[in-house]
């Protein structure tokens, strides 16, 4: 999946944000015309794969290809001639990258943080993107980095989404540490959006293990206090557990810790490791074949589900896990990073299976194999 395209800019003096159109009858204040020739009308920019001699609006010319853009997609255009896709109208998986800064440094981070202040730029970008998003957008994810590092901008962003997109589910991925300050949780509650849910990782029941995994002292205590502060205001919470060599040994204890200390969580997700970002670098400390943690995973999932909690398994393949867990497995991987092995093509469960991250194709369970329906009938 292509998310950026580059061309030769003309007349681009500032950040431009707009909606893609190729329909010549379609005109508007926020539209960007895509076509070899300019279409006279009220567009804010023109994108072309051809050379453009003279133009009356900011233009990016000589772009290699624009096929990845659909009418209705939202893009940003910079002075550097880069056209970034910020919202894909035909996708269920749209993410707002709030910042690449982070106060943790997880061993298995899929998107390693950057220590530069991108917040004013990104806030300005999304301040302009959000009003353009279709009102029937089902779900938006706010991710990072650590989104709460935006400080007051974080709340302004959420207020804007709440106002502009009242029917959209908002899923915020945060480490929850900032909410150890009660006033921060209280401020979030004031937004009063019942469609908002926070996904917060808890990797162990014991602080030393959790702090080691997230590479931050005091993180466990802050996250747990944060979860309690958020629960006090009735904010909807999801607990996210990544499965790897460091989290597996205490997984059963973590399940019981969640039930006893965080029973207000609306959803608990167990997630397979992503082979990208920091993970390849730390692979010796992290890798365990998912087949080899089936016992621990089954125990944890069935305990929590048995106590009435809503449990899901993400980033996992059906053929690797015992059949009793299939009902918990979700097709969770965003379309643009989802793939299957060649062997999977023969599998009768292909369409029910979440498959793999594209980047996990080169590091995956040795037990992936096609499931055939008749085998399936025998075991069920």
């Amino acid at each position: 999946m292509i998310f950026r395209a580059k061309g030769i800019p003309t007349g681009v003096n500032d950040l431009i944000v707009g909606v893609i159109t190729r329909n010549p009858d379609h005109h508007g204040e926020s539209l960007i015309w895509v076509g070899d020739e300019f279409n006279y009308g009220s567009y804010i920019a023109h994108l072309s794969c051809q050379s453009i001699e003279a133009s009356i609006v900011p233009t990016i010319a000589n772009i290699q290809a624009l096929d990845h853009l659909s009418d209705g997609d939202i893009v940003s255009i910079g002075q550097d001639g880069i056209v970034r896709t910020v919202y894909r109208v035909n996708s269920f998986y749209n993410t707002i990258l709030a910042t690449e800064r982070c106060n943790s440094n997880c061993l298995m981070c899929s998107q390693p943080p950057k220590d530069r202040n991108d917040i004013p730029y990104l806030f300005e970008l999304y301040r302009r993107v959000i009003p353009l998003i279709p009102k029937d957008c089902l779900e938006l994810t706010i991710s990072g980095g650590e989104p709460t590092l935006m400080g007051e901008y974080f709340f302004e962003l959420l207020e804007l989404i709440t106002r502009e997109l009242p029917k959209t589910d908002i899923h915020i991925l945060t480490n929850g540490r900032t909410f150890a300050w009660n006033h921060f949780a209280e401020r979030l509650a004031q937004i009063g959006n019942p469609r908002m849910m926070l996904g917060i990782p808890v990797y162990a029941d014991y602080y030393q293990v959790h702090d080691y995994i997230v590479q931050a002292r005091g993180a466990f205590d802050q996250t747990i206090l944060g979860l309690h502060n958020l629960a006090r205001y009735g904010i909807r919470l999801e607990i996210r557990v990544v499965l790897h060599q460091q989290s597996i040994p205490r997984l059963s204890r973590l399940a019981r810790y969640i039930f006893k200390n965080l029973p207000f969580a609306e959803h608990v997700t167990f997630m397979g490791l992503e082979y990208t970002g920091y993970t390849p670098h730390n692979i010796e400390k992290l890798w365990i074949d998912p087949y080899d943690y089936n016992k621990e995973l089954t125990e944890a999932v069935e305990f929590l589900a048995g106590q009435g909690m809503h449990v899901s398994i993400y980033n996992a393949q059906l053929c690797v896990m015992p059949e009793r867990l299939w009902g918990y497995a979700r097709k969770s991987i965003s379309d643009w990073k989802n793939d299957y092995l060649p062997a999977c093509q023969a599998c009768s469960k292909l369409h029910d299976c979440g498959g793999l991250f594209t980047w996990n194709l080169k590091k995956c369970s040795a037990h992936i194999q096609p499931v055939f329906e008749d085998v399936n009938l025998l075991t069920s």
Binding site: D115, N117, Y212, L225, N282, G308
Partner: protein, 499 residues
Amino acid sequence: METLSPRTNRKFKDIGYYAEQQSNYFLLPFRFHRLNDDKEVLVNEVGDHLVVPLGTAGRIIQRQLSIEEDADLYGDLVAGFFIAEQEVPALIDVLATRYRTKKSFLDQFTSLHLFVITLRCEHTCHYCQVSRVTTNKDEFDMRYEHINKGIELMLQSPSDYLTMEFQGGEALLAFDKIVYAIERTKPLAAKLEKQVTYVICTNLAVLDEDILAYCKTNNVLLSTSLDGPGFIHNQNRRRPGNNSYELTIKGIELARKWLGTGNLSALMTTTNLSLDHPTEIVDEYFQQGFRSIFLRPVSPYGFALKNEKKNKYEIERFINFYKKALHHILDYNKRGEFFREEYATIILKKILTPFPVGYVDLNSPAGAITNVILFNYDGAVYASDESRMLAESGDFTFRLGHLDTDTYGDIFYGEKAQALSEVMVNETLPGCSECAFQSYCGADPVHNHATQGSVWGYRPTSTFCQKNMELIRYLIELMDGDPQTRQIFEGWISQRRAS
């Protein structure tokens, strides 16, 4: 774009770096108890437990644990709120929230209101000291003005959820008065936005379809007595014709046809005869389609007062009976059936869940007054069902007042209630205050008074203590020893299986 003054660097550090650099740890409140020859159990202030090798509590207290050599145990103790690395741990508020949650059954105050609608009965059960075989309604049925006043007091309860339970005698002998009471309550409760659950305790002998039609329309639940198979039930529950069992089974079938299986429950009472037949009783419940059974001990009022030796022997017999029955129930579960024992379920909920368990006979503060109140057929108000049993033998210790003369305040906050509340909290009772099972158990001043002549009670010879200590210990031991049993128990407490 501005580069921030970065963290020192983003180089990965080893796990050792993330241990608190403390030379020593601090103790959080916890208690302990020997489980068997190899193990002991630690229980923290909010009821989380940890089974450890014998001698571990001593090592913890003498600061002999090492974060490196006992890494797993050390982690369990910190994660489980047994020890802390700061004098006031960072997560102390989590512990406070958990404590508040456990005791939140108190928040709503009294919910269960027992109306002894009549003392008349057509049974002469040998363990019942209160009922009368008579047709004298004037003397033994609750009078309308007392029903009215009882409803008035009930609706003054701060609780939004009330249970109005009609008892006897045989409550259905005064069914007209039950209808009167429900019809009077309905509009008044609706005005106050209180939800009322109606329950009739009945032996089902005089049940008919008119009664069931009314129950169905008004969502009235039925609670009956089934002591086991016919040869036990009919022996325990005497009536002319010696056909109590047959009438009960017929009643159960009829009631289920009208109300569905979920709206009829049964209770068993253990007698001397029952003690020899644990498996037969369990099988009878299963065969009759029940998927739970409540193995209740012999009522203390059948005990010889102050005969400690005999009482100890009796409760040992009950414990043996209970264990045999429990194993038989577990066998059903191991064959894939769902079938649970209710007393174990109550205790297991206290051991395994963070939620409050509002069972009136095993709570601290005790359920009497705070959770249950009884309006007797003659207008007297008692702290619990057992309190009025005592009264029938001339002991009015737990009579809190009378519907003719006393106000809500007189009854629920009067001198008697205040005096009683001193002995209703096991956290402050001698022998309970340091007990590992404190948070799983309760205080029962009525039982103490009836069996030991003191509302405080004396733990070393208390049958209440003897029974609960052993049953709680045994349940923990079973779970620890067998993962399959643990899974079955976790199924019994499951929030999914609201029975």
